[in-house]
């Protein structure tokens, strides 16, 4: 079999998620009529190189209309940079024409490439090499760079076949050798003409410099909790590391879902023969990895701090999260020039971001802890073991408290998502006033007062963005605070700008008087950052409120919402019909949500079927409807199993039992689900096709079936409307 390897990529069994990004790049590459310029922005070791190389592989083998060229900037400068790019470009152009991967893997001198160009009847292109040689002889770096980076558009013009460049680590092109022209300027000059490309970068500098016109930026985050945990479980299985899902979930969050750090941790546990079944083992392996292992090595490869003062500055930014230039100059007694040089270096490494005089830490948690380790040992003179021990101690305490409140991150995310869905809707005020709601909420339902008036409603703002208050509240404890900014009344002027300061209590206990007092105090301080704007304050507690807290918040005019109110609010924001119904309904029942996770294994779908049978029966569905839901759910689970890339992956099911419908979400571990293929009409006398009936069955058995794109894949949404006994028979009749 022909060896199809082009550039090194990680083994299939160790690559997870990122399919949507790869597919997006492939689609963009195939649109030569509209030159596209895309920047893939992400921290170091988040998988940018892997994404570009995999997209290149698909483009190399999967189509013939665009020439894909992958190039990784290596920090060369001057003529060497031009020659390296030129060699790689010609080599890949010839390899693609012949579909010969061998040519890509060989190191070929320029003379040999010139001959190959002639042999392949590409005489017109050999002039690129002649120009390069001439520029090299004359020591004209600018001419050499212009010639090399202009080669793609020349080939496009001569051959009529478009070129798509995949430029890895483009940020390395912006660092020039002293006196030499920066590669990035020559590159921008050549590429802005017509060539389509995607470039990866760890720093925002490229995007902010505005060198490329119409540059689209894709920000690459971590893998997401579900995919990270599935990835860790799969790697643990592969490398024989015993694990426990709760510990893996904490580790995934701790490593900020960084795929390379996750792999390094599992490899380290495997090497050490340590299980990941408890926090202590996990933190021990992590600390060793960070200081002496692969993670530390990766961090050392790009975090270079040349002076002790530089280390002090970096450690300060890392610890405090952000700082101003004046603050740093005063605190570390460094000159403006010295600080600028330091910040440029940190910014090029992608660990700090600068903007409007403020410097923000952008390196992530592992990098922050690594810097702290270097600082404590080199500046403060503490021994490595002492620093390691204090990291383990603090991490264990943090992990222990997280384990005690499993719902923490999800609940805050839910509130944040809810705030983002505010889009000028009117909602019942009672959903934001817990004392009133709680007084009339009995036996799982809210009984509305008989006469409702217009003033019983609240007009929500159009929220344009949400962020947490950490930047302003470094040392605060108590409920997390989310700031949501937006406009109201459909008017985008200062008079209608509004800020919602939202406190979220994530722990498994009600909001008490202390929480309420703390939030009121902090919200008054935070208000100072938004002078002149309308402020709304809102507290959300998953476990409700104590009577004193309710009273205090009500007296202060702070909105208050518990989890039952939140579910109703969510439903009325997502569904206009539901919102209208709620306004006139005498009885409001919040949606009940159930989550079930099943493994991708034989007959596991029957567990889901059993769960939905119980839920459906409780909701009042008739026997046949339940049987239909079960059959459709089984189909969706099988679809999710079949398309999961992870052998021991899981399928995540969410059942939302509403007043009039059951909604089921089916999602697998990060892979695409089958899109409905559609069955062509078979001739009446011939038997139906054998395969591909899954979606047809779902559609035939349910009232609504949707395939929704989500982070790292897709999910199937099934909906069945509730018709009480007799309703459905009447409808069918």
């Amino acid at each position: 079999m022909k060896d199809r390897l082009l550039f090194n990529i990680c083994p299939e069994g160790e690559f997870f998620g990122r399919l949507s990004e790869i597919n997006y790049i492939i689609e963009r590459a195939k649109e030569p009529a509209h030159p596209s310029r895309t920047l893939l922005l992400g921290r170091r070791w988040t998988g940018k190189t892997e994404i570009l190389r995999r997209a290149h592989r698909e483009l190399f083998w999967g189509q013939g209309s665009v020439v894909p060229v992958y190039y990784q900037f290596r920090g060369y400068g001057g003529i060497s940079a031009a020659e390296d790019f030129l060699k790689e470009f010609i080599k890949q152009y010839l390899a693609f024409r012949k579909r010969d991967p061998e040519a890509i893997r060989q190191e070929l001198p320029l003379e040999r490439l010139e001959k190959l160009l002639m042999d392949s009847d590409s005489f017109g292109l050999s002039e690129i090499i002649s120009i390069h040689n001439e520029a090299k002889r004359g020591g004209d770096t600018s001419a050499a760079l212009k010639n090399a980076y202009g080669a793609p558009s020349l080939i496009e013009a001569r051959s009529g076949v478009p070129v798509y460049l995949l430029l890895d680590d483009i940020d390395k092109a912006s660092v020039a050798d002293d006196g030499a022209p920066a590669l990035i300027d020559a590159l921008a000059g050549a590429l802005n003409a017509s060539t389509s490309f995607i470039a990866s970068s760890s720093s925002k500098g490229i995007a902010e410099a505005g060198l490329f016109s119409h540059l689209e930026v894709i920000e690459l985050k971590g893998l997401g909790d579900d995919v990270s945990v599935a990835m860790m479980a799969e790697l643990c299985r592969k490398y024989g590391v015993e694990s426990e899902s709760e510990v893996l979930s904490y580790a995934a969050g701790r490593l900020e879902h960084n795929p390379m750090h996750i792999k390094s941790l599992i490899w380290a546990a495997s090497r050490a023969g340590v299980s990941l079944k408890d926090l202590k083992n996990l933190i021990g392996v992590y600390a060793n990895e960070l200081f002496d292992g692969n993670i530390g090595c990766l961090l050392r490869s790009y975090i270079k701090v040349k002076t002790l003062n530089g280390l002090r500055v970096l450690n300060y930014i890392a610890r405090s999260g952000s700082a101003s230039e004046e603050e740093l100059i005063e605190k570390f007694k460094c000159g403006k020039e010295e600080l600028k040089k330091l910040l440029d270096e940190f910014s090029a490494a992608g660990i700090v971001e600068e903007g409007l005089g403020s410097i923000r830490w952008a390196g992530g948690r592992a990098a922050r802890e690594y810097i702290s380790y270097v600082f404590e040992t080199r500046v403060k003179g503490r021994s490595p073991d002492e620093v390691k021990s204090s990291l383990v101690r603090d991490s264990l305490k943090e992990g222990f408290s997280l384990k005690g409140a499993k719902v923490q991150p999800r609940f805050k995310e839910d509130v944040s998502r809810l705030l983002r869905s505010f889009n000028g809707q009117k909602v019942l005020k009672v959903l934001l006033r817990n004392p009133v709601f709680a007084a009339r909420f009995k036996n799982g339902a809210y009984r509305a007062v008989e006469s409702r008036k217009e003033e019983d409603e609240v007009l929500l703002p159009q929220v344009i963005g949400c962020f947490d208050s950490l930047r302003w509240e470094r040392n605060e404890t108590g409920p997390a605070v989310i700031i949501a900014q937006g406009f109201q009344n459909n008017r985008y002027d200062s008079g209608n700008e509004v800020v919602w300061i939202t406190g979220v209590k994530e722990a498994l206990s009600p909001i008490n008087l202390g929480d309420a007092e703390s939030f009121i105090r902090r919200s008054l301080i935070l208000k100072e950052n938004f002078r002149g704007l309308r402020i709304a304050r809102w507290m959300v507690g998953g476990e409700g409120f104590t009577a004193e807290a309710q009273k205090r918040l009500e007296a202060e005019g702070v909105y208050s919402t518990d989890s039952a109110q939140m579910r109703i609010l969510k439903e009325s924001l997502e569904d206009k019909g539901a919102a209208e119904r709620l306004k006139s309904s005498p009885r409001i029942v919040p949606n009940k949500e159930f989550e079930v996770v099943i493994p991708s294994s034989t007959k596991a779908e029957l567990v889901a079927a059993k769960a939905v049978e119980e839920i459906g029966t409780e909701m009042g569905f008739d026997e046949n409807s339940i049987a239909q839901i079960k059959a459709a759910l089984v189909e969706s689970c099988i679809n999710a199993f079949e398309h999961s890339k992870i052998k021991s992956g899981k399928v995540f099911l969410k059942f939302i039992a509403g007043e009039d419908r059951l909604t089921i979400h089916v999602q697998n571990s990060g892979a695409e689900l089958d899109a409905p293929a559609g069955q062509g009409a078979a001739p009446l006398d011939s038997l139906p096709k054998k395969r591909g009936w899954g979606f047809e069955l779902m559609k035939g058995l349910m009232d609504e079936v949707r395939l929704e794109r989500v982070h790292n894949g897709a999910k199937i949404v099934l909906v069945k409307y509730l018709m009480r006994k007799g309703d459905r028979d009447d409808k069918e009749a």
Partner: protein, 120 residues
């Protein structure tokens, strides 16, 4: 291999009783049984689904394969005892246009004309 208790032979015909869930594994068992009976020369097959609560799409594709094999051997196949949801599923797929469906196995067997209209 023909398993005990999953079938009943009546004269030159056989009634098969699949399990409560027809997936790939159960479907293949059913297929094996059909093949075994066809090899024995039995050409009239009733599949009684009265114990079957769920049939998935893989099970469906195997059933279509069974029907094709019976057709190749110039045999006849009937279904009986379908629960409403399974009848709905066969309707969606279009199998009810090709296979006669009876309420009970007795009706299927006692229908003297079944051989004429059940020949596929």
């Amino acid at each position: 291999m023909i398993r005990k208790h999953n079938f009943k032979e009546i004269g030159g015909s056989v009634i098969l009783y699949p399990n409560n869930y027809i997936n790939d594994i159960e479907g293949e068992k059913l297929e094996e049984m059909c093949e075994a009976f066809l090899k024995k020369g039995v050409k009239k097959i009733v599949i009684d689904f009265s114990s079957t609560d769920l049939i998935n799409s893989i099970g469906i594709s195997i059933l279509i394969g069974i029907i094709e094999k019976v057709k190749e051997r110039k045999g006849a196949i009937l279904f009986s005892g379908l629960k409403k949801v399974n009848h709905d599923i066969f309707n969606i797929v279009g199998l009810t246009r090709h296979i006669p469906v009876y309420k009970t196995e007795e009706e299927a067997v006692s229908d003297l004309k079944w051989e004429d209209h059940a020949a596929v």
